[in-house]
Symmetry: C2
Subunit: 239 residues, 2 copies
């Protein structure tokens, strides 16, 4: 197994984007494709490393840039949410961007465009949900400590199966928001699961998160369990 990274610069709604394809070059033939949507900061090393774990399971992964080439933030930036805020303020543009990223994934040589799924962390979880809400032909989506508010417009029927991995104490998604998501997905008629982890906050997969007082902190248990649940879920979709 030789997991390789390959930068892919692609055009999209509003300019150029720089995504990263990650897959096992020693494997032959096409395999299911998996989009990975990063958190508020945009694509970065921790996403590429997570993508390598997913690629090792037998998938062709694309770490998707939805902000635009060169638009990356750092936690230490005073306005680290600036690129995300643009898309939160224009959910139609977000919808276009996540679908454009899906098209790029489908075009990768090693990805079987008829068998795709999407993963996402934090804001990337919202990207997964908005891709599903757009009626995209992904087989499934997994949100890790995602953001659940629905867009301000009507959605298509959701065709994707969805797995929502959720920290029960996440201040960004309190129980009411989680119940509202459950209701929305039920009304959309889709096959969904929410795995709620107790005594777990936002950002539970992020080893750099340690803001306990703000409800954002890494959890080794939730990180391991959500990875296992994601693995089971992808097996169910494509195994």
């Amino acid at each position: 197994m030789t997991i390789q990274r390959r930068i892919i610069v692609h055009e999209g709604p509003g300019g150029l984007f720089e995504s990263m394809a990650v897959s096992d070059d020693a494997a032959a033939g096409m395999r299911p494709g998996v989009l990975l949507f990063p958190n508020v900061l945009g694509t970065k090393e921790t996403d590429f490393a997570y993508a390598e774990q997913v690629a090792a399971l037998g998938y062709a992964v694309l770490v998707a840039d939805v902000f635009g080439q060169g638009k990356r933030a750092k936690r230490s930036d005073a306005d680290f949410g600036r690129y995300m805020d643009v898309l939160n303020g224009d959910r139609a543009l977000l919808r276009e961007r996540v679908n454009a990223a899906h098209d790029v994934l489908k075009g990768i040589d090693e990805a079987d465009g008829a068998r795709t799924a999407a993963l996402g962390f934090c804001f990337g979880g919202k990207c997964v949900l908005d891709l599903a809400r757009s009626g995209a032909d992904i087989s499934g989506g997994v949100s890790f400590h995602g953001v659940y508010d629905a867009p301000p417009f009507a959605n298509a029927a959701i065709r994707a199966k969805l797995l929502i991995c959720h920290g029960w104490d996440d201040p960004i998604a309190p129980p009411k928001a989680t119940a509202a998501l459950a209701e929305e997905l039920t009304e959309a008629g889709c096959d969904w699961q929410i795995h709620a982890y107790g005594r777990t906050g936002h950002a539970f997969t992020d080893k750099s998160a340690n803001m306990v007082d703000r409800g954002m902190f890494y959890s080794a248990d939730a990180d391991r369990r959500s990875f296992r649940a994601m693995t089971d879920f992808l097996n169910e979709l494509f195994g």
Copy 2:
């Protein structure tokens, strides 16, 4: 592998009980022990069959009788809840009975009494929770479409890890009851997970359940996913 059943008649709080030990006679040595608490009807063939699947994973299973020898109900009985009602009305007695069953499991030759867990379905899910609430030294517990109301007395600190497999549309446990359980378990300081399945009702593991209008119906997806989650959970405890 030769999975065997063995009837075990044992004394307990209030009389004699008839449980069923299920394990692989071809396996050598002690292995983790797993209690299986049946639904409202008491021990029956579907429990023994499920126990065989669990035994095949490498566990020594005891399908636990908490009603008393000869006390079994059928769905066609007008008062099929009569044995359960006694224990719902006397949670201290229920607590004694589930702990007595745990002691019986520990005493089985092939079970390692220091490594035990409990599973339960419907009322049996309440049995799992009440065993955990009593502070019992089980490593973990799994509730399938359980019943979540807490006993009317203070509980011990919960030492067990808990996995709650839950149908979101379960009329016996609506979202408020589920959120209340989450709050109770968080306050008890335990390691918990709730896996909620969308468009899924009560009794989702029960192939004989087909009362869709009453929110009780089998779901092949939720049955398979909860079995997988239970397998992962037991692996985490004992693997």
